[in-house]
């Protein structure tokens, strides 16, 4: 079963962390990726640029309208994700619990099953 584990970050919370804490998060993700690769459960992981770099696109009267900044007015934004293929939802949750973000107040880690997939997976 495929699951998307999305990481919702709060830039203010991340900014308040010490350099050591930030490094620990990076190391934790590194170890997590290695373990997922070894077990044959990782499909893909990507991290996104800061939400201030986002652009929201809509089309009105056939004309595209582009607004700089994120779509949601929120303190938390999608920061990145893991796309995994594992046995069941319980396993996906067990894996998600190893992501360092889960130990930090103000950061959110969400697990959702994938319903449709297509495209080239060897990215």
């Amino acid at each position: 079963m495929k699951f998307l584990i999305s990481m919702h970050i709060n830039p203010a919370v991340l900014d308040a962390l010490t350099d050591e804490e930030k490094a620990a998060i990076g190391d934790g993700h590194g170890r997590f990726i290695e373990a997922l690769k070894k077990s044959g459960e990782l499909i893909l992981t990507q991290a996104l640029v800061d939400p201030s770099q986002a652009a929201v696109v809509s089309v009105r009267n056939g004309q595209p309208v582009v607004t700089d900044g994120p779509f949601l007015e929120s303190k938390e934004y999608l920061g990145g994700f893991y796309l995994i293929d594992c046995e069941n939802k319980a396993r996906a949750i067990e894996l998600a619990a190893r992501i360092p973000d889960t130990a930090i107040e103000g950061l959110g880690v969400e697990v959702r099953q994938v319903m449709f997939a297509d495209g080239q997976l060897e990215a």
Partner: protein, 403 residues
């Protein structure tokens, strides 16, 4: 011999050669690599130079040589004394069939079902890692890691090639059948991505189950599983519209069903049921045969379907079985009787929020004339499923009851 015929032959021989090699040398992983290389060599040479007189012997010889080369170079690298390098007459591939023992090894109880499935397709089915990855819609690297992890686990569990003893054999055979059933289901419930490849998985599961059946023709559950696959596969052309929409059993165009498969499956299930032991696969096959036997949905022998579910519920209790019996009960008695049986599942944690419970309830409410209730449950079922085709189907049922 044509290229597809050579491919079929190779895939039939691969597990036999691998099984024989593992029995001689232990070390599953090295043997597996060696056999893959031998098969690759055959794929290149046989179409051009012709199939050798003894193709299995040829593969065994080439694989043994590769394995010994590999063992020697491992030895040299580790700077061990070269004198102990294994000397095996490479031509000697014994004439016994090790396919079953190889299946038992691939379905080793220390592996997760996903790993058992992948390893079985690779080592027994002879599929390449890339083909398996495509079928399961994961990158090849992901599948390669999973297969390699599975091999390491088998190694760590100390499994050379000791086949399970008689007491364990029965239990291990159940695991093998379950893995074959999972492979079939993966192909049958093509919910996303490239459906063509997933349909191939159903074919592959049938081929492997035929292989087991040929070796254990007296086992009622092996026969039952093969029958169940054939009777289910027979309906594949009627299951979806050209646009990929699901067609429920009672609305399927039964002229599209494959009579050949139905006849074969029905004969198998009759033979199995005449045997001494009754099991869940035989009963499920008997239910499938009852449906396949009806020329129209209205002609379905629901009494027999219900009776078979009752027996199944007794020997293998499971909320899914009760759920299916509720559908049959709604037909033999009336929809409220089916709904009453469904309500016994409400406290069952395994069914909490399950889309099948919601959709069956919706279906029975619709039959009972409760349009509002049916609409509500179809909608909830649609939100609960992880299959795009199923969601589309449930949403269309919801709009249908509303109008």
């Amino acid at each position: 011999m044509t290229a597809p015929a050579i491919e079929d032959l190779l895939r039939e021989l691969t597990p036999q050669v691998l099984g024989a090699l593992v029995r001689r040398h232990g070390q599953f992983e090295g043997c597996e690599d060696a056999v893959q290389e031998a098969v690759l060599a055959a794929t290149v040479q046989w179409p051009a130079e012709g199939v050798p007189d003894n193709p299995r012997g040829w593969l065994g010889t080439v694989a043994s040589r590769r394995l010994i080369d590999q063992m020697r170079s491992d030895h040299a690298r580790r700077e061990r004394e070269s004198a102990t390098a294994v000397e095996v007459a490479p031509e000697d591939v014994p004439d016994t069939d090790d396919t079953l023992d190889l299946l038992f090894l691939c379905c080793h109880p220390t592996l997760t079902p996903a790993s058992q499935t992948a390893l079985t397709l690779r080592a027994v089915g002879g599929l390449t890692t890339a083909e398996i990855a495509r079928a399961f819609l994961v990158p090849e690297a992901t599948m390669a890691a999973r297969i390699s992890r599975a091999k390491q686990r088998i190694k760590a569990a100390g499994s050379s090639f000791s086949p399970p003893d008689d007491a364990e054999r029965e239990e291990r055979l159940r695991v093998v059948l379950h893995v074959l059933y999972l492979i079939f289901n993966e192909g049958y419930t093509a919910s996303s991505g490239n459906e063509l490849h997933r349909a191939d998985l159903a074919h592959e599961a049938i081929r492997l189950t035929r292989m087991v059946h040929a070796r254990l023709p007296e086992d009622g559950e092996v026969t039952g599983l093969l029958a169940l696959m054939l009777l289910t596969h027979a309906r594949r052309k009627a299951r979806t519209t050209a646009a990929g929409d699901l067609v429920p059993l009672d609305e399927q165009d039964r002229t599209k069903w494959d009579r050949g498969l139905i006849d074969e499956g029905t004969a198998l299930v009759k033979a199995a049921l005449a045997g001494p032991t009754l099991g869940p696969y035989q009963l499920q096959a008997a239910i499938a045969a009852t449906h396949d036997d009806a020329a129209t949905a209205a002609a379905t022998d629901w009494r027999q379907v219900h009776a078979l579910y009752l027996v199944l519920e007794r020997i293998a209790p499971n909320p899914m079985v009760t759920l299916n019996r509720a559908i049959a009960l709604a037909e033999t008695e009336d929809p409220p009787a089916g709904l009453a049986l469904l309500s016994t599942l409400d406290g069952d944690e395994r069914m909490a929020g399950h889309h099948r419970l919601l959709s069956v309830r919706a279906h029975l409410l619709e039959k009972a004339g409760d349009t509002a209730g049916a609409y509500e449950h179809y909608r909830r079922a649609a939100r609960s499923t992880a299959s795009v085709a199923e969601r589309r189907y449930l949403e269309s049922r919801a709009s249908r009851v509303r109008t």
